[in-house]
């Protein structure tokens, strides 16, 4: 299978700030998650892929073409940017339709495609309202609609799940799966691993502008599992909870916090901890009132992995 995106020694700087260091990576067709902590270079990479920026060094091809200023390529690309920006004077329908018209569609065709795309993202009831009255999630879905409306071969979405409520998140994931079933490749970025994990088996991890790992979710998970996960807990009786948790095999350390009722647990197997925790806590009668796992934040894991 040929690569849809091929980057070789790709670099891009903003003055003295490194956006992307020396990235070499290939994306195969299908859904790929581009994962990395904030500031890893995900957005820069995506802007290079859609031709908004030019590489400072290295080579990048998307669907076999160089992206910057490539009008032929833009016919086949859909880009959902991260920034919450729309033409505020327009309705959702006008916004998507007018952008479609730039792609050469007649007004009637563009309107039909716009309506279909907005229905697909669940905005059928709001499409004739001005976008400046939309909620954050509706604005996000409008950006998605303009990215998919023209039936692109590749959709590139920068943090598309941010700001969506759980229902919209599920719908959006279904939308991406539907696009993939229709033969459209999708690259989505996220700084939250499990967000992407729900959607695809294929993942690219970048950190500080470089490729850190690439492969299936399982492989990446295995890599990550070498690093202990931290869980912050709040309980009425933290000592009793600590005593009950300590015998679990995967527990590495337990520290009582400075604030009353708080404790921090480090575990080598976060999944096993999640399955065992409720039963152990209930049996101990520790009165747990707070649970925060840092699994959602990749920053620590990335720092660990890069040494």
């Amino acid at each position: 299978m040929s690569a849809i995106v091929l980057a070789e020694n790709l670099g891009r700087w903003y003055g003295e700030v490194v956006g992307l260091g020396d990235l070499s990576v290939e994306f195969e067709p299908g859904i790929t998650g581009l994962v990395g902590p904030n500031g890893a270079g995900k957005s820069t990479f995506m802007k290079l892929m859609v031709g908004e920026l030019r590489p400072a060094r290295g080579r990048l091809t998307v669907l076999g073409e160089t992206p910057f200023g490539n009008r032929a390529l833009h016919r086949h690309l859909g880009f959902c940017p991260q920034q919450d920006a729309l033409y505020e004077h327009q309705t959702g329908r006008q916004f998507v339709r007018d952008l479609l018209r730039l792609g050469g569609w007649s007004r009637r065709e563009a309107d039909g495609l716009a309506v279909r795309a907005l229905e697909r993202v669940g905005l059928e009831d709001a499409m004739d309202r001005k976008v400046n009255g939309y909620s954050k999630g509706m604005r996000q879905r409008t950006r998605l609609a303009q990215a998919i409306a023209h039936g692109p071969k590749l959709v590139i979405a920068d943090e598309p799940l941010t700001g969506l409520d759980p229902i919209a998140r599920r719908q959006t994931n279904e939308l991406f799966r539907g696009l993939a079933e229709d033969g459209c490749s999708v690259i989505i970025s996220s700084h939250v691993l499990h967000e992407v994990e729900n959607l695809t088996e294929t993942m690219v991890l970048i950190h500080r502008g470089r490729l850190l790992a690439q492969g299936s979710v399982r492989e990446v998970r295995r890599l990550i599992s070498r690093h202990p996960s931290r869980v912050d807990l709040v309980a009425r009786n933290p000592r009793r909870l600590a005593t009950a948790l300590l015998p679990l095999d995967h527990i590495r350390t337990i520290k009582l916090g400075a604030d009353p009722g708080t404790l921090t647990v480090e575990t080598d197997d976060i999944a096993a901890f999640h399955s065992a925790f409720a039963g152990v806590a209930a049996a101990a009668g520790a009165g747990v009132s707070g649970f925060k796992s840092d699994d959602a934040s990749l920053e620590a894991v990335f720092d660990y992995l890069v040494g």
């Binding site: 908004e52 920026l53 009008r71 920006a85 033409y87 004077h89 018209r101």
Partner: protein, 261 residues
């Protein structure tokens, strides 16, 4: 699709997409207030303690000192600068730049939408001054009115285009454009000598001075100047506009616009 057919088509679509928003933008609303100043001054000059027979002089003074030298450059800068700068500031430029259209069409379409709004404002302002002063007992000649209004409209084209180009090149272009229009230009245009030829104002004034310079001589405070004839002046202004257009289109095609996340 080739560039020759795609550029006008995409320019037209971008123009239509942004015309209504430009017309009701804060820039345009401020422009309405600014454009109302010359007719207001004309009314005050002729009706508050005026002797009513200074129609021509009031028209010429307001036309040159206020309309051509202040209102047209100010409105040109305010409306022109937003062509690309507003898109980058609002971070919406990603959308047209990731569509299969020439990037130059975004610059052209948005500038033309600004120009149309600007032209309406300048025309209304010039026509207002003309209508008020023509009711006085010593009205300006129709040729003078035509010349000055024409020069003002052309001033709108050039200043807005210059500002639009500055807005493409520089991040905070408004200060630079205003500095050019109100410091550099005004100084060059009003210092006696051939340095005037480096200013747009010189060529704009050349459009309405009249064959014998009579219109200009009515502005007694100025040194007599030797102007170009109107056609030579128009030609040079058009060449300037074409150069600015080319710079704007090439820059917007080649430049990378880095948006904050």
């Amino acid at each position: 699709m080739n560039l020759i057919t795609e550029l006008p088509r995409a320019t037209w679509l971008i123009f239509r997409m942004h015309l209504a928003a430009t017309a009701v933008s804060r820039r345009a609303l401020a422009g309405i207030l600014f454009a109302a100043i010359p007719p207001l001054f004309a009314f005050l000059a002729l009706n508050i303690g005026g002797d009513g027979d200074m129609g021509e002089r009031v028209f010429m003074y307001l036309g040159v000192l206020v309309l051509l030298q202040v209102v047209a450059p100010a409105l040109g800068v305010f409306l022109g600068i937003g062509a690309i700068a507003d898109e980058t500031e609002a971070r919406t430029i990603t959308y047209p730049f990731t569509r299969p259209i020439p990037r130059a069409s975004v610059f052209l379409g948005r500038w033309l939408a600004s120009l149309l709004v600007l032209s309406v404002l300048l025309l209304a302002s010039g026509a207002g001054v003309a209508a008020i002063t023509m009711r006085a007992s010593s009205p300006p000649s129709p040729e003078a009115v035509q010349g000055l209004v024409g020069a003002t409209l052309l001033a709108g084209v050039l200043y807005s285009l210059g500002a639009a180009v500055i807005g493409v090149i520089f991040k905070r272009g408004q200060v630079i454009a205003l500095g050019y229009a109100f410091a550099f230009e005004v100084m060059l245009a009003n210092i006696p000598g051939s340095a005037q030829k480096l200013s747009l104002q010189f060529y704009l004034r050349s459009l309405f001075v009249g064959d014998d310079g009579a219109n200009w001589r009515s502005l007694e405070i100025f040194e007599p100047s030797k102007f170009l004839d109107a056609s030579a002046s128009s030609e040079r202004l058009m060449v300037t506009a074409a150069i600015l257009l080319a710079i704007g289109c090439i820059t917007v095609t080649r430049k990378q616009f880095v948006l904050s996340s």
